[in-house]
Amino acid sequence: MDHITFLVAMVIVTALAFDFTNGFHDTANAMATSIATGALRPKVAVAISGALNLVGAFLSTEVAKTISGGIVDDTLVTPGMIFAGLVGAILWNLSTWLLGLPSSSSHALFGGLIGAVWVGAGRHGVHFDKVVEKILIPAVASPLVAGLAALGATYLAYRITRRARPGTVSKGFRAGQIASASLVSLAHGTNDAQKTMGVITLALISCGALGHDAGPPVWVILTAGTAIALGTYIGGWRIIRTMGKGIVDIESPQGFAAESAATAVILTSANLGFALSTTQVCSGGILGAGIGRRLAEVRWGTAGQMALAWLVTLPAAAAVGALAAGVVVHGGTAGTVLIALAAVAVALVIVVLSRRNPVHADNVNSAPTTRLRPASPAGAAV
């Protein structure tokens, strides 16, 4: 272990921190609709999701051999750039969590890396055609497909059960939601935990602590799996609220349709080699399920904000990554320490801000939107 330099140690710590934010940012994907419809109690839902993420981390043996899947030139990437990219991704994940916006953790990671490599290695280090092929097209297509699937399924589910008694229908679909939400969680664990494992493994290879083509050591699998599971269990309640209550008023048949659509899209595209964002697929499914039921209220304002966050995610994380990479590349160890301290400070500020209007397991279903400021008491000036 004496190969591990200070910088590589920093990469490992930030990678695990990113994995943690990844977990609590994405709990909502699998569990938001189950929590909103009452299929699972909030605490139970995040516990199941956390456990399945840990299981998923151990199941995924096929750890990413490249950090980015060809989006940046991996031969030019140094541990310093990985560190800077991770900082960009973490800060963007925390900011969107504060606002309760479900944005893609994978896009944040790619964005951070693109920014860091652009500044650290030059523009030729970024493969822009791959960015279009691997990020832009799936980002547009996957929520659309999930939305269409959920729309059709919701419409038919309501048609078939329209004469049946409502109590039985809603109980039946709630039971189904437990299975569909669990599948989304497991798929998430196998996909997202292995990204962090890949990052840590490549950092270890780059400093000579591991041989080329080495798989991740057991401690890497264990820590990465634990980080994402812990994050999932802590639960990004702010985002769960937006996805479960904010986009549409969701009933259990819609929740089941949305989750089934998300599972189907994630599994078919993984089989055919498309990388996509679980967050976007799940949000697309929820929106489709909202449109599919007549008279369901769809809050287009919230959906619009979410779409805006998707557009901004990659460039925003890239900007932070680029800034961090500039300091790390030119500032050496002192620069790395500076960026790490700055990142911790910003993260603390965000956590403190979130305390002003906390969202937790007990109040997650009580309002449709996550606000920064506490709601003003009745009669007070707004």
Partner: protein, 76 residues
């Protein structure tokens, strides 16, 4: 740039087909279950709806198992 439009179309049609299929079968199962409850309350025989519901839910369980098979890499 080499966009795999064919694969994209395949993902779209398979996803939509699978989702609609599973949800429709599950909805039929729920409907049959509700029918069974009503039949029992009226004192009528409820075997047919029960068998129907069981068949639908078994098919959905099969879909879940196939999903697990796809997710867990050790199986392939």
């Amino acid at each position: 740039m080499n966009v795999k439009w064919g694969a994209l179309g395949e993902v779209a049609s398979v996803s939509i087909g699978a989702t609609v299929g599973v949800v429709v079968v599950f909805a039929l199962g729920v409907w049959a279950l509700a029918e069974r409850e009503e039949a029992r309350e009226q004192g009528a025989g409820a075997t047919v709806p029960l068998v129907g519901a069981a068949a639908c839910f078994a098919a959905c369980a099969g879909a879940v198992l196939y999903g697990l098979y796809l997710i867990i890499p050790q199986f392939h």
